[in-house]
Symmetry: C2
Subunit: 496 residues, 2 copies
Amino acid sequence: MSEKTAYQAACQLFTRHYRYEHLSAIVSWDQATMMPPAGNDARAAAQAELEVLMHATLTDARLGDWLKSAEGEALDARERANLREMRRAWQTANLLPAELVEAKALAGARCEHAWRTQRPANDWQGFLANFREVVKLSREEARLLAEAQGLSRYDALMAQYEPGMKSADIDRLFADIKTWLPGLIQAVRDKQAGESLLRPQGEFPVESQRALGVEVMRKLRFDFDAGRLDVSAHPFCGGVPEDVRLTTRYRTDDFMQSLMGIIHETGHARYEQNLPRDWAHLPAGRARSMGIHESQSLSFEMQLGRHPGFLSLIAPLIREHLGDQPAFAADNLARLYTRVEPSFIRVDADELCYPAHVILRYEIERALIEGDIEPDDIPALWDEKMMNLLGVDTRGNYRNGCLQDIHWTDGSFGYFPSYTLGAMYAAQYFAAMRRAMPTLDADIAAGRLDPVFDWLKENVWTQASFLETAELVRQATGEALNPAHYRAHLQSRYLG
Amino acid sequence: MSEKTAYQAACQLFTRHYRYEHLSAIVSWDQATMMPPAGNDARAAAQAELEVLMHATLTDARLGDWLKSAEGEALDARERANLREMRRAWQTANLLPAELVEAKALAGARCEHAWRTQRPANDWQGFLANFREVVKLSREEARLLAEAQGLSRYDALMAQYEPGMKSADIDRLFADIKTWLPGLIQAVRDKQAGESLLRPQGEFPVESQRALGVEVMRKLRFDFDAGRLDVSAHPFCGGVPEDVRLTTRYRTDDFMQSLMGIIHETGHARYEQNLPRDWAHLPAGRARSMGIHESQSLSFEMQLGRHPGFLSLIAPLIREHLGDQPAFAADNLARLYTRVEPSFIRVDADELCYPAHVILRYEIERALIEGDIEPDDIPALWDEKMMNLLGVDTRGNYRNGCLQDIHWTDGSFGYFPSYTLGAMYAAQYFAAMRRAMPTLDADIAAGRLDPVFDWLKENVWTQASFLETAELVRQATGEALNPAHYRAHLQSRYLG
């Protein structure tokens, strides 16, 4: 037997880490979907112990030497990319002490568990009691990561989700959006004011909605042999590439949000299910970044899901599962799913209002992490920005205001920009697809979805993390991130 | 801050182990109830990695010294019991190399996963291909444990489930049973031949059966805030004391097996849910043994569940959920649930035939582990013993013969005797209860179940592992294990 190379030794350690991640993903999914309430304390302790273990794996004293020696070993391009990704994970882990990792896991679990009852109770003060600790620990994490990497504190957190992206970039992108978005929203609302629109009427039983969701997932080629659809308070796509767990939530008076939520999560799921399986156990084989992940969910939800051709495809399924009514005509469904109406909840927002929600959260969480504001300041800022951006009054309405999202409860600061980056990438992909495939829109309307899936599979899914984000986008679309495609897409769809 | 004692250091390490056990319990439950088929390979690898980690925790080089030093520290009786249990776990773990632990976990997972499709396909040859490896590794485990502890190989495996019990004891108990059981079965069948018996008719929808099961679980005081009921191919009670996961399986043409299965698993569950919560993280706070565990499930299933008074209590619930029919009269239900009819499946066996199934498995698995037979010899032996003990012909019928159980697939050799030990303990408990509470049977019929639960809680559940098994039974019932109570119970119920 030949001697193991340093590269192989490092890969072996990361394979162990990948198996621990598997355990973490499954028990986290269980916590959100299956766990009875009294199980929470023991679960939180077990999950925190696992966080500590995963951190200990990446801070193994031998790993630094292995990564260094591996630089001199003969590696092919993919192995070299994997070495780069292993180094990134190793660097980040080694900047954080185990005590902080454990404390943050426990504080996040406590805050999230309490949030589940505090949100319906509109209990901001109760939430604050746990949330202050989450912010304190996240700031400490940001400080340690920032100092060592020469980044601002917020940028250091954002780099965990979107490596290479800086808040200076985000500021530029968002400042541009703010110049045209309010005007566009107003123009679209004026235009839509004169449109006739039928609202779906009735009770939509959960079982019927679920059956509809499953059939739409099949149309989107979700592999049910390697995944599930369940229910959770906050929808997400979890699990592991080999077993993807996606969730939704149902309201019997409204099936539309849940259905589009399922389409969104199916985008995440297909990315995971189509990552290169023989690389799944190594960092280069995982999803590129959260912005790229959201580019898949938003390719499904926004580009495809709200496409009039796609809606004409699923209209018969909606009628089949929920009964026939005039509102289920394909053209009316297209009007419903492109109706622009500022409202409280980000995940239920329409395509045009969505970026406003993201900009609001970005501006608040960046100030919070940089120490410019304190947790107590959030509601007033939230109210002000929501009024300015969308004209929505959230005063005193914490449940539908700053308590609505799960991201801050467990300290996932720096994630929100990924949503709008994802929307921009998705618009850029579809522009590239249309250049390469001029019949794309007709294909979609005719039920030929494979050209879309094949393009995403070739250009994104199977690329995993072999390329850096900017290079992935450039190879896929022929240019760097270009927000003009996003604006053009919105103008074409909503005023075209 | 005062210096940590050696006892405390050991407890800290076992607390970590307990959190890993939590992860293991939840992902194992998920594997049996939720996981889609394509997830299996990654799951098996993750579970095996966790097994290795748990083994590494107990073989920590410092633990031996801590346990030794702790012997000289000031400990109260419960702490001393905990030290004894920590030592037991440490000794066993240190006799097994990590490679064997991992190989056994992987071989067991492979064999079990394939078994799920091989059983319905009646594919004994396919099963053998995986099973030979499981047997090989279990024999190696038995050899290592046996040599170091001066036990026979089978006894060394059985000690993992029932510490202190030897196959010489089991031989004596089972030899006695074999002298009277066949005659008793015959006498009861002769008596029952003249009885009128109405069989339930109809389709029993799964949702109705589930609602009935949940209501019966509530009557048995299962805490749904700290547990769940789901479906799996082979029913079990898993999870952790803080979050107990029990499962059943439904047939729409027969609700009786599933209902009694739920009652059985609820007995396991209430034991777990009532272990002393402040000791849950340490070995002394866990269930005493698998024989004692089965004594709880069989107290619920056999002593209580087939009690005519209890059946008169749940008869109205059965009618409420499954519709009224003459077969659901309380006295007919009592005749149905005490009907003696030799058949193929152990978990569906009646109370009298059950020990015959266990004796058969014990005799085969002991010979297999001691090396007296090979895996290929099992079907012929199975056929012969099934014919001798119960007059049932299993030739060629592997699916309902030697492929029916899950225990051997993952190498849980040595477990089967626990079932009959449990039945004997349960009969002995109820004899002790009746001595202390002469109105017990009337109480049960009147719906006053708390005297039973209070007795079990005081004498078994809250005792956890503070006492050795023999002492627990002696303190609870005033005498050592006495199989006369078991025989007396069966004679009284079936011929009385």
